[in-house]
Every structure is written in structure tokens, then in C-alpha cells.
């Protein structure tokens, strides 16, 4: 005979009850249990089984709670706490009871907490990215008032260009809505610093004097530039970042006025920026004045868009006012613009955008898509948890009914349900934080740092607050159906079901089925969305960049102006370099280019073509590439017509060029481009400076594999299209590790002040260009998989529960002649109904999603049948599997056992 007294004493935890009273209670309940045990044994139950049944029939947390309530002193007695305090106590009680409930149903708790941790964690990870990139203001004072102006030529294929030097001088003077206006070079340049023999390249930007002031950043030491320093003769000054000051000058406090060698010229330190200063996503270490001569500020340079223009709105001025003023000014300037007709044809207008928004514009759709994806996942997870809670609630209907019969108000029942769900989601929120911490690390591996402002992505108190707020809201939302279920349940029905093994109410059943239906539909949307991204990525991966990226390696060199002031000097260096490289064992071929595909440069502009007006297609910009050495052979770009450029062109100073097929077909569709002539400076054709096309090559992708409209490229001999920023391209079977140091050595042998860096395989450059697409697909795939899993769990859980609830009914049916197949098909039909309904709704959602995603897809329109078919097949397979198991179990129910259970 078990020791009932010990059993009761171990489980009953009453507070505020005297020892004697408690002993009496223990005694009384123990006796009761003992009597029940004896009766079971008398009726033929095995003693062990009887003891098990007794243990299972006792809900100790509830007994404790109910007894505490019953023994509570009357309101108004001496030690009744204040009402407010009482409410707090009640809440504490609710949570304590909820905690016991969760501890008791460990399997349930683990399943739901895991689900919530994963779903909340995924949301938090993506939210941390969105928060860092889209939501958090830029790290400048009153950053909302910072704007940027952009020259836009939508009809010439360049809707978002940049700004020019004349723009800066004009706006600075004439736009009253701008308190201050500044410019910075459009893309960072590289400067060479360090000593002879071990020089290094560092990022450098040219800025106007008000640049730091416009951003609202005071210098740590020294001063910003003055207007006097905006001419070349006086521009030998620099403002250093804190980090460069620390590393190069060891943080010398007297650094202002000191000089250092940059690009072979002596430069004086004017000031030092505060720690951590950074403009948007740049890695600039040195700022120098954006010096110019009067020619560069002339009217015909207004659309030479080499700068990014930023401005701070004047106090009281609005963005709209700034737009009106800038638009009016650019309209007025058309009167004296030598290119007015062409600008009108290009649809030119000047945009004024918020600086932050403008910077992150490109990544916004992807982030919004990802956040929508994880939100769907959270909904699916939340529905799963709600469903599991509803199932749990059904088995507790009796308990709740008794509580109500004992005087618990509706509010008290609802409050208890709320305490349970909120406690659960808050634990899930903690798990979510851990998951998100891991998620952020995963995102870093997926290349989130390459997004605009991506390096600032972090996990901080803001994210943690969102986690807990989100978890609490989710808890409240999930509590609604659970509380509703409890409050709608009928008292007598529920109390009677204690003995009758009753089935759950129809509305509760409908709710649970509705949840599974919704889950199937939502998972379908996620799955097909991931499929679309997958197909799209597959298309991208299958698309050739237009050159043989295998065994191709490139390194970057910056030629300082002082040493290489003219193209001839640069050409001499290039010739020596190429000769040495070609003689080097392990290098198959070598070339020089100023426009490395996938190198981050997308310099393009207007080319004048003899006898041709504005391009009919609306695009008249194209890439220009100055090359030397066997460029096309090295890159593996095939010749389609005519010939390549060669050394004799250079020796004889022939003004010849090669174009790609995209360019040739734009101007001479169906005809040969050979023999036609183009100009390389500006939109007006000048016969004397013309270049004759001698060859046509295959087009290459310049900025990304997913480029759909090739701009076209003209290749000039380097001397005629010189640039201080060049890339060395090598065809070599050697690895980067093997060739990199050798390449550096060779360059230093030729010029000990010339560093080469960013030595990389072209394959890895291509890979980097796909990082957003690849990561989005990987993430969407992961979310879809989790969603699928949750749906399976949901469908399985609901079906299993339905079978369990209806055991008795199934038993009766089978006892009166229903065949197992009929039972099987009954439950399978239920599963199928949910499946096909969910798929129909999900199909609609998938189509809508594909429309919304169109901008992010490559080579995919609508929802391809393949994606749709696969999604349906996957969905059907897993849901049917999840349905089959419980259905099969139902068909194996033995009528005798099912009936005997009552």
C-alpha cells in the first residue's frame, strides 16, 4: 500500500496556512485518495495500475490553487492586503500556476518554446538588419535633415547618376533651403602612403570645405579645409581619420602641421576626425580638398557627375521646398546649357532625396521581402503554438469549468490563460534572443556586411526590447483563442465530460482546422517564394559573365599623379610591367584594364557616334575601357568580327578601338560596325579626334551577372583612355596565395613606391557580386523549410488530437460494422480537404508574392509551372504523411479497448 500521506504532503504546497491546519488537510485528502485506491483494487484493478491512476488523476497545482483560494481569509479581515497589492499577488499566482503547468507538460513546453525561439529568433535577426540599415538614423546629429541631390537621366538609362562640381558651386550659392552644401568624390580613390619599398594603398576621398560641418561633425584636432585650398596649387593638405592618425602617426597629439608622403607628394595634416567617424559605407582614411580649376567648374561640366552632393536643410526648410528650388534652378540653367536639347531628350531632372533613404534604397526591397518572409514564419509558428494550446485547453476544460463553478470570474479565467501564453512566449522570446545572436553571426557569414551600412548591423538593447515586446504581443494574441475557448465552454458539459470521454465542441474543432488550413496556405507561399528565388539564383549561376573567369586573377594599382602625370609615363610603366609578367613562369598571359568587370567600377558615359543622333533605344551611355596587353585573350572574350587591338596600334599611334556586340547592335543593327567612327569625349562628334572601330567582341557583364540590359563597351588603347586606377589581369593556374606575393614583388621591382593590392580571383569577385541574391535565397529556403516543418507538426498534432478525442466514437462505429478503411479514409479526407483548400489559397498568395518580388527575380516571370508543381508536390507529400499516421492509427483502434476505456 502506497504512503498516501507522504504523497499528499510532497505535492501540496500551501502558503499562509498554519502547520496544524495543513496537517489536517493532508490527512483528509490522503484518506480520500486511499479510499479511491482501495475501491479500484476491489474492482479488480491491478494495485500498481490503481496507484498509477490515482497519481494521474491529481492536478496538484490546481488543487493547491483552489485550496489556497478556499482558505483565503474573507475580504475585510485584518490582514487582507491592499487591493492593488492583491491584484499583483493574483498576477504572481497566475504566473506561478502557469509555470507549474508548463513544467508539468514538459513535452508540450519544449515543443512550443523551440518553435517560438526559432520563429522569434529569425524575426529578430532580420529585424536587427532592418533596424541597423533602414530604421536607425545615420550617426550624425539631426541626420534626418541631411539630403543628397542626384542628377537623373531616366530616358538614357541612368535614372540615378550623381552630381557635378558646378552643381556644388551653384547650389551652395543659390539654394536657400540648404543651410550648407558639400561634395565628396562619388567613389573612393586610393592614395599611396608609406615608405619606399613597403608602400600601401589607403582609401581616400576628396571633399569640399563644408563637408564635415554639413554632417555636423566637429574635428577632434585642427581644422577642416578652407575655400583657398580648393585650387590645385594649395591643396596639399589632409584631414585624417582617428584610426589612420593612430596607426600612421601613433596618435601624436601634435600631428596638426606635420607632413607625410602621399602619392609621392608632401602633404600637411590639417586636422583629425573624431573616433569612429565614417561616411555611409565607405572606408575612407584620408580626406583631401576637392580641388579644381575654372575649366572644371564651367557650364559644360554641369553633367560631369563625379561627386556625391550632400546638404543640410536650413532651419524651417522642408524637403519639398528644397526640391522646388533645385528643380527651378536646373530648369533655369537649361537656357545656357550647351547640351540642353540632349538633356531634354534624356529626361534630365535633379532629384533631392533624404541621404539615408537614398543610400539604402537598393537593398530595401530585399530586406522588406525577408522580413515579410520571417513574419509569415512567425504567424505559422504562432498558429502552431495556439493550436497546441487549444489542444491542451481541451484536456483542461474540466478544470477550468470547475474553477468557474467555484466562482472564478471570466476575467480570472482569461487572466490565467493570458499568464500561460505570455509566460510561454516570453520564454520563447529569451530563446529567440539566443537564436538571433546566432542568426546575426550566420548573417555575417552570408555577407551582410557587404550591404549598404551592413557593417553597422548589430544586436543591441533596441533589438532586445523589440524581442520582449514582440513576444508579449504574441502571447496576448495567442491567448485570445485559448481564453475564448475556455469562456465559451459550457460548465455542465465540461464537468460531465470528466466521465464520458466527450468530444470537443464543433467551434473549437473548426478553429483548429482553420489554423491548419492557414498554416498550409502560408507555408505554400513561403515555399513557392523560396522556389522562385532558387530558380532565379540558378538562372544567375548558369549565366556566363561573358569571359572565362577560371584561373583569372586581378590586382589593383593606383598610379600617383606626381610620378605619372601623363598617359605616356603610365604607358611606359605598363609596358615594363606586362613584359616582366609575360616572362614570369606560371603566368599564361597578362593585361591591363581600367574597368575591371565585377571590380565595383561602373564608369560610363555618352559616346558620340559619327552620323548617328540620339540612340533610338533611349540609352546612349556606354562603358569605356582603356586596355593594354592581350586583354581579350587573357579574359577569354571571343572576337566576333575584325581584329583585336595590338602593339603595332600603340607604336603607330593609330586611333582605333574595339566595341562589343551590344554597342555594335545598338547603332548598326544587322550591319557591320567595322570602319565606323566614334569620339571618346562628350556627346558631340568631332572628326579630328575620332576613333575607327576595327573589331567587335562578345559583350561581358560589368556590375553583376543579373545585368539584363548591356550598356555596351568601347575598348580604347590605354594611352587614349588613361586612368590612374588600373587593374592587372593574369591568366594563371597558380593560386592567389602563390602568385599574390610574387606579383607584389614584381611591381615593387619596377617602382618601389607602387603597391598592388586586392589581388583576387575573378571567380571570387563574381561570387561577391551575388552575395545579396545568394544570401536571400539561402535565408528564404531556410525559412520555408522551418515553415514546412511547423506545418507538418501542426497538421499531425491536430489530426492526432482529433483521433484521440474521437476514440470512443470510432470504437462505437467499428463495433457496429465500420471497416478500418472507412475510418482511415474519413480522417484522410479531412486531411486532404485542409490540404487542397490551403494549397488553393496558398497558390493565390504565391502568385501575389511573385508579383511583389518581380524586381528581385532574374529570368523568372509569374510563378513558373515547375515551381508551382514542385511546391504542390512537396506540400502534398508532407501533409499527407502527417495525416496518414494518425489516420492509420485511428483505423487500428480496437472497439473493445476504446469502449472499455470509459
Amino acid at each position: 500500500m502506497p504512503d498516501f500521506r507522504a504523497y499528499v504532503r510532497a505535492n501540496l504546497r500551501l502558503q499562509r496556512v498554519s502547520g496544524a491546519r495543513e496537517a489536517e488537510l493532508v490527512e483528509e485528502i490522503a484518506l480520500d485518495l486511499e479510499e479511491r485506491y482501495r475501491r479500484l483494487v476491489r474492482n479488480g484493478t491491478d494495485p500498481e495500475e490503481a496507484w498509477r491512476q490515482i497519481q494521474n488523476s491529481n492536478d496538484w497545482p490546481m488543487i493547491t490553487r483552489e485550496l489556497s483560494g478556499a482558505l483565503r481569509p474573507e475580504v475585510g479581515s485584518d490582514w487582507e492586503p491592499a487591493k492593488r497589492f492583491n491584484l499583483l499577488l493574483n498576477l504572481l499566482n497566475n504566473f506561478r500556476f502557469a509555470a507549474r503547468l508548463l513544467l508539468r507538460n514538459r513535452g508540450f513546453t519544449v515543443a512550443t518554446v523551440l518553435t517560438l525561439s526559432i520563429c522569434l529568433g529569425a524575426n529578430l535577426s532580420i529585424f536587427a538588419v532592418i533596424d541597423s540599415i533602414l530604421l536607425r538614423p545615420l550617426p550624425f546629429p539631426d541626420a534626418k535633415r541631411l539630403v543628397t541631390t542626384v542628377n537623373s537621366y531616366p530616358l538614357s538609362g541612368s535614372p540615378h547618376s550623381a552630381a557635378s562640381l558646378p552643381n556644388y558651386y551653384d547650389y551652395r550659392e543659390k539654394i536657400k533651403a540648404f543651410a550648407s552644401t558639400a561634395i565628396i568624390t562619388r567613389t573612393s580613390e586610393y592614395a599611396i602612403v608609406g615608405v619606399t619599398g613597403s608602400p600601401r594603398r589607403v582609401e581616400r576621398d576628396r571633399v569640399s570645405p563644408e563637408f564635415f560641418g554639413t554632417l555636423g561633425v566637429p574635428l577632434l584636432l585642427g581644422r577642416a579645409f578652407s575655400d583657398d585650398e580648393m585650387v590645385y596649387s594649395r591643396s596639399g593638405v589632409a584631414v585624417l581619420t582617428y584610426e589612420f592618425w593612430q596607426s600612421y602617426f601613433n596618435g601624436d597629439p601634435k600631428v596638426v602641421g606635420r607632413t607625410f608622403q602621399m602619392d609621392g607628394s608632401t602633404t600637411t595634416v590639417a586636422g583629425v576626425l573624431p573616433k569612429g567617424f565614417r561616411f555611409l559605407s565607405r572606408h575612407t582614411q584620408i580626406y583631401i580638398p576637392a580641388a579644381s580649376d575654372p575649366k572644371e567648374r564651367a557650364v559644360d561640366q554641369r553633367h560631369n557627375n563625379r561627386f556625391q552632393l550632400i546638404a543640410r536643410l536650413a532651419p524651417g526648410a522642408t524637403l519639398a521646398a528644397a526640391r522646388t528650388q533645385v528643380s527651378a534652378l536646373s530648369g533655369a540653367q537649361m537656357k545656357d546649357d550647351p547640351f540642353a536639347a540632349m538633356l531634354r531628350a534624356d529626361g534630365f531632372h535633379a532629384l533631392v532625396n533624404e541621404l539615408h533613404e537614398d543610400h539604402v534604397e537598393s537593398i530595401k526591397p530585399t530586406l522588406v521581402l525577408l522580413q515579410s518572409g520571417v513574419l509569415l514564419l512567425l504567424v505559422i509558428g504562432g498558429v502552431n503554438v495556439a493550436n497546441l494550446l487549444l489542444i491542451l485547453a481541451s484536456s483542461r476544460a474540466k478544470e477550468v469549468a470547475i474553477r468557474q463553478s467555484l466562482g472564478d470570474s471570466q476575467w480570472e479565467v482569461a487572466r490565467q490563460a493570458l499568464a500561460e501564453t505570455v509566460l510561454l512566449t516570453l520564454i520563447g522570446g529569451c530563446g529567440g534572443l539566443l537564436t538571433a545572436a546566432a542568426g546575426i553571426r550566420l548573417l555575417a557569414r552570408l555577407g551582410v556586411d557587404q550591404l549598404p551600412l551592413g557593417e553597422s548591423v548589430s544586436f543591441d538593447w533596441r533589438t532586445a526590447c523589440v524581442a520582449f515586446a514582440g513576444a508579449a504581443v504574441l502571447g496576448v494574441l495567442i491567448a485570445v483563442p485559448v481564453a475564448g475557448f475556455h469562456l465559451r465552454g459550457r460548465l455542465v458539459g465540461a464537468m460531465q465530460s470528466e466521465t464520458r470521454g466527450g468530444t470537443s465542441s464543433r467551434s473549437a474543432q473548426r478553429l483548429r482546422h482553420g489554423f491548419v488550413f492557414a498554416q498550409i496556405a502560408l507555408s505554400f507561399v513561403l515555399l513557392s517564394g523560396a522556389g522562385l528565388l532558387g530558380i532565379s539564383l540558378k538562372h544567375v549561376l548558369e549565366t556566363s559573365p561573358g569571359f572565362q573567369s577560371e584561373h583569372l586573377l586581378a590586382g589593383q594599382i593606383s598610379l600617383p599623379y606626381k610620378k605619372y602625370p601623363d598617359p605616356a609615363a603610365a604607358q611606359r610603366l605598363i609596358d615594363r610591367l606586362l613584359n616582366t609578367l609575360q616572362a614570369e613562369p606560371g603566368i599564361t598571359s597578362a593585361a591591363i584594364t581600367d574597368l575591371m568587370p565585377f571590380g565595383g567600377d561602373d564608369d560610363n558615359g555618352v559616346t558620340a557616334v559619327e552620323g548617328v543622333g540620339k540612340d533610338k533605344s533611349g540609352t546612349d551611355s556606354n562603358y569605356r575601357n582603356g586596355i593594354a596587353g592581350g586583354y581579350w585573350r587573357t579574359m577569354g572574350i571571343p572576337l566576333l568580327e575584325g581584329r583585336f587591338l595590338d602593339d603595332s596600334d600603340q607604336e603607330r599611334k593609330r586611333r582605333v578601338c574595339v566595341v562589343d556586340r551590344a554597342f555594335a547592335e545598338r547603332y548598326w543593327p544587322g550591319r557591320s560596325a567595322l570602319g565606323h567612327r566614334v569620339n571618346n569625349d562628350g556627346p558631340i562628334f568631332k572628326k579630328d579626334d575620332a576613333f575607327t572601330i576595327v573589331g567587335v567582341v562578345a559583350p561581358v557583364k560589368q556590375t553583376g551577372i543579373d545585368e539584363t540590359k548591356p550598356l555596351g563597351t568601347i575598348y580604347y588603347p590605354y594611352e587614349y583612355w588613361p586612368s590612374p586606377e588600373i587593374a592587372v589581369v593574369l591568366q594563371t593556374p597558380l593560386t592567389v596565395e602563390a602568385i599574390g606575393p610574387r606579383l607584389r614583388q614584381i611591381v615593387l621591382q619596377i617602382d618601389p613606391d607602387l603597391p598592388i593590392d586586392q589581388v583576387k580571383l575573378l571567380d571570387s569577385l563574381i561570387d561577391e557580386s551575388m552575395v545579396t541574391r545568394r544570401s536571400t535565397t539561402v535565408l528564404a529556403g531556410t525559412f520555408a523549410t522551418v515553415a514546412l516543418l511547423l506545418t507538418v507538426i501542426g497538421a499531425y498534432g491536430v489530426l492526432s488530437f482529433a483521433v484521440g478525442q474521437r476514440r470512443r466514437e470510432i470504437g462505437v462505429r467499428m463495433a457496429i460494422g465500420a471497416a478500418p478503411q472507412q475510418v482511415l479514409s474519413h480522417f484522410m479526407t479531412l486531411g486532404m480537404k485542409l490540404l487542397w483548400g490551403g494549397i488553393a489559397l496558398g497558390g493565390l498568395g504565391a502568385w501575389m508574392t511573385s508579383q511583389a518580388m518581380q524586381r528581385l527575380l532574374f529570368g523568372v516571370r509569374g510563378v513558373p509551372l515547375g515551381v508551382l508543381g514542385t511546391t504542390v508536390a512537396v506540400m502534398a507529400t508532407v501533409v499527407l504523411m502527417a495525416t496518414f499516421l494518425p489516420s492509420y492509427r485511428a483505423s487500428r483502434i480496437s472497439p473493445m479497448e476504446a469502449l472499455r476505456e470509459d
Binding site: E27, E35, A70, L491, V492, M495, Q496, T499
Partner: protein, 112 residues
């Protein structure tokens, strides 16, 4: 509060218990098994639902509990109906009958 409302809100547990104590005093387990027996098994009380109601009723003065030692038996706590309890039983009976009559008439229930 109208008797009908009162009866519905508090449920039938108190009425059931009071009724078992009308003729003689009983201990907790006996009350539960008597209810189960008389209802033909359709209503049963587990300790969780029984004792809290008993203690509440005792506190309200409807029933009184007392530990009794009978010969050859263990010491048990017996509950008996107080005068207040008897009045309450009468009141609850009438309000429940009223309620059930109303229920029969409006919901078309049939007598068992």
C-alpha cells in the same frame, strides 16, 4: 442578485454537496461517491474539485466539519449541515428548480 443568476454562477457543486448532507453527516470521500452513485456516474468529484468547495462552504457557515473516531475505523473528518446550510439548501433547491423549469420551457428539454 436574482436567484437564477446566483445559481448559475456558482454552479451546482454546492447544491449537490448540501443535498448529500441533508439526512446525515458524511466524510469527503463518502460525499463524492454518493454523488457519483446517485447520478449514475455522470457527475463525479475529484479531490481538486471537492475539498475547496467543502472548505468554502464551511467558511460560509453552511456546513461544519469535525474529526470523529469511530470504533474499528480511522479518524475521519465528518461534515454536517448547519441551520444556515439547511436554509441555503432549500433556497438553492428552489432556485435550481425554477431555473430548470425555465430551461425546460425555453430550450425544449425533456425530463430525464
Amino acid at each position: 442578485m436574482a436567484p437564477l443568476d446566483h445559481a448559475r454562477k456558482n454552479g451546482s457543486a454546492e447544491l449537490l454537496i448540501l443535498a448529500q448532507l441533508e439526512t446525515r453527516s458524511r466524510h469527503g470521500y463518502e460525499i463524492a461517491s454518493e454523488i457519483e452513485r446517485r447520478s449514475g456516474g455522470s457527475v463525479s468529484f475529484q479531490p481538486a474539485s471537492l475539498y475547496p468547495v467543502l472548505y468554502r462552504m464551511e467558511r460560509q457557515g453552511w456546513i461544519a466539519g469535525r474529526w470523529v473516531e469511530k470504533q474499528g475505523q480511522r479518524r475521519r473528518r465528518y461534515y454536517r449541515l448547519t441551520a444556515l446550510g439547511r436554509a441555503e439548501l432549500a433556497a438553492q433547491r428552489s432556485s435550481w428548480s425554477e431555473f430548470l423549469t425555465g430551461l425546460r420551457q425555453t430550450a425544449g428539454l425533456q425530463d430525464a
